[in-house]
């Protein structure tokens, strides 16, 4: 049961209806940023107010919620959002990706492939991929309307001219169904191939008041060039705890003598593998 004195899932019904209408428009126009009247939430901007509002408008009492922050279930942000919904919506929670029906995420896509029927909600700081190239909202709207994305390709090309490779490592821009260029939120570009998913993906930007979405199986292509194809780079070491080679790894400094380890950023993935008896170099 949810806490007395709160409406189910915290938000009032007119607000949820408004957010739900924005989500439906977002799903009908994949990659297009739908404006919505973002509300004040009991947490500061930058802590996932957009994601929380989308989750609140999406949850049903039967849901099992998972919240991750950079892949981890046990960081302050993830724990407090999970507790928030436990309290105001009375939903079950889990840390297991496969058992969750709704997953709210900050800056990662879980390693375990998502299934049909799951919903992934992203917290988005700056939804407009063209914002750092063009500060005016009127102009970026026009650029999206005219499908004028040359500037973005110039930015990627300048990276190649200067560094020999595309230097963007996170929030790597994608094109959705050959139409809208979209910011996938600051996920590492390693996660970009996972944007083509069986799950419904919803993106909420609270401060910027935008919602956008990807229906399941939507074609999502990371922008690149024929002679510089997209490369989802990863650390060239296996996870020190579970030995995973295909996962996104965090670099952890372990002492003051320059010692470092690479460990899975997805804590649930790493724990599941270790429970299955897989062992990395540091755990032996």
């Amino acid at each position: 049961m949810s806490e007395a004195g709160y409406n189910f899932a915290y938000l009032d019904e007119p607000t949820k209806r408004m957010i739900r209408r924005a989500i439906l428009k977002g799903l009908a126009i994949p990659g297009y940023q739908v404006p919505f009247a973002s509300r004040e939430m009991p947490m500061p901007y930058g802590w996932g107010t957009g994601g929380v509002q989308v989750t609140a408008a999406t949850l049903v009492p039967e849901d099992t919620l998972k919240v991750i922050d950079q892949g981890a279930d046990d960081t302050t942000n993830a724990v407090s959002i999970r507790r928030f919904f436990q309290r105001v919506a009375g939903v079950a929670t889990t840390t297991r990706t496969a058992q969750a029906s709704v997953i709210q995420t900050r800056h990662r896509i879980p390693e375990t492939p998502l299934a049909e029927g799951q919903i992934l909600v992203y917290q988005v700081p700056i939804p407009e991929p063209l914002r750092f190239l063009e500060p005016s909202e009127t102009e970026t709207r026009k650029m999206h309307a005219l499908e004028e994305y040359g500037l973005m390709h110039v930015r990627l090309y300048e990276d190649i001219a200067r560094h020999g490779a595309i230097a963007t490592a996170y929030a790597y821009p994608v094109q959705v169904e050959g139409r809208y260029v979209m910011d996938p939120s600051p996920i590492p570009k390693f996660d970009n191939p996972k944007l083509k998913s069986a799950a419904i993906q919803l993106f909420g930007a609270g401060r910027e008041q935008r919602i956008y979405a990807l229906p399941p199986h939507t074609r999502v292509v990371s922008l690149d060039f024929e002679d510089h194809p997209f490369d989802p780079a990863k650390a060239d070491a296996p996870c020190a705890l579970c030995g995973a080679t295909g996962a996104y790894l965090d670099e952890v400094v372990v002492d003051d003598a320059g010692g470092r380890l690479f460990v899975c950023s997805d804590t649930d993935y790493c724990e599941t593998r270790r429970a299955e008896g897989r062992v990395g170099a540091a755990a032996e």
Partner: protein
């Protein structure tokens, strides 16, 4: 008396109804069941649930022909307070397929704001996952839906990213066809 014909527990029933509507729109061709509303004739329960879930004083609604009767007007005024308008100002429209024509009367959105477009709730006598073949976002390989027409939905898709989005209702079941879907 009319109050008893709406949701008994609006926050929870609207949440379940929205989940069904979202699943249907995110996966064109998929048919979902909804419950919770008993709207007056000629509205189907599914159309009633959709209206209670999505429509309010902020969303101008167009009622087409038979749907525009005193019983429906009273029910909507009590439960949603949606202003009733002509097709050109509608955010939502409700009626049978023939009654909703012509489709170019509804707002299709603006190039800068394609979301400022109408969503049509189409009442059908028959709704099955067969008939017109569908392709596009939300569809792994191929899906099918008993659409009332094909050319109209192809023409609607041709305007993408502008266009109308459709919900189809029949009894307590609903399906959806967003503008992004290609009708083969």
């Amino acid at each position: 008396m009319v109050a008893t014909l709406g949701f008994h527990d609006p926050p929870v029933e609207a949440a379940r109804a929205f989940r069904a509507a979202m699943s249907a729109l995110a996966r064109p061709g998929r048919i979902e069941r909804v419950a919770g509303a008993t709207p007056p004739a000629p509205l189907s329960p599914a159309a009633g649930v959709l209206l209670l879930t999505l429509v309010d004083a902020d969303t101008p609604l167009h009622l087409a022909d038979a749907a525009d009767c005193p019983a429906v007007r009273d029910w909507l005024a009590f439960h949603t307070a949606a202003p009733l308008v002509a097709p050109a100002e509608a955010a939502f429209a409700l009626g049978r397929w023939e009654a909703l024509q012509p489709l170019d009367a509804y707002p299709r959105g603006l190039p800068e704001y394609p979301d400022r477009s109408a969503t049509l709730i189409v009442e059908l006598d028959r709704l099955t996952a067969e008939g017109a073949e569908l392709e596009g976002p939300g569809i792994a390989t191929r899906a099918a839906l008993s659409l009332p027409d094909r050319a109209a939905f192809r023409a609607n898709h041709a305007h993408f990213p502008l266009g109308l989005d459709f919900f189809f209702t029949c009894g307590d079941r609903l399906a959806a066809l967003p503008r992004s879907t290609r009708v083969l």
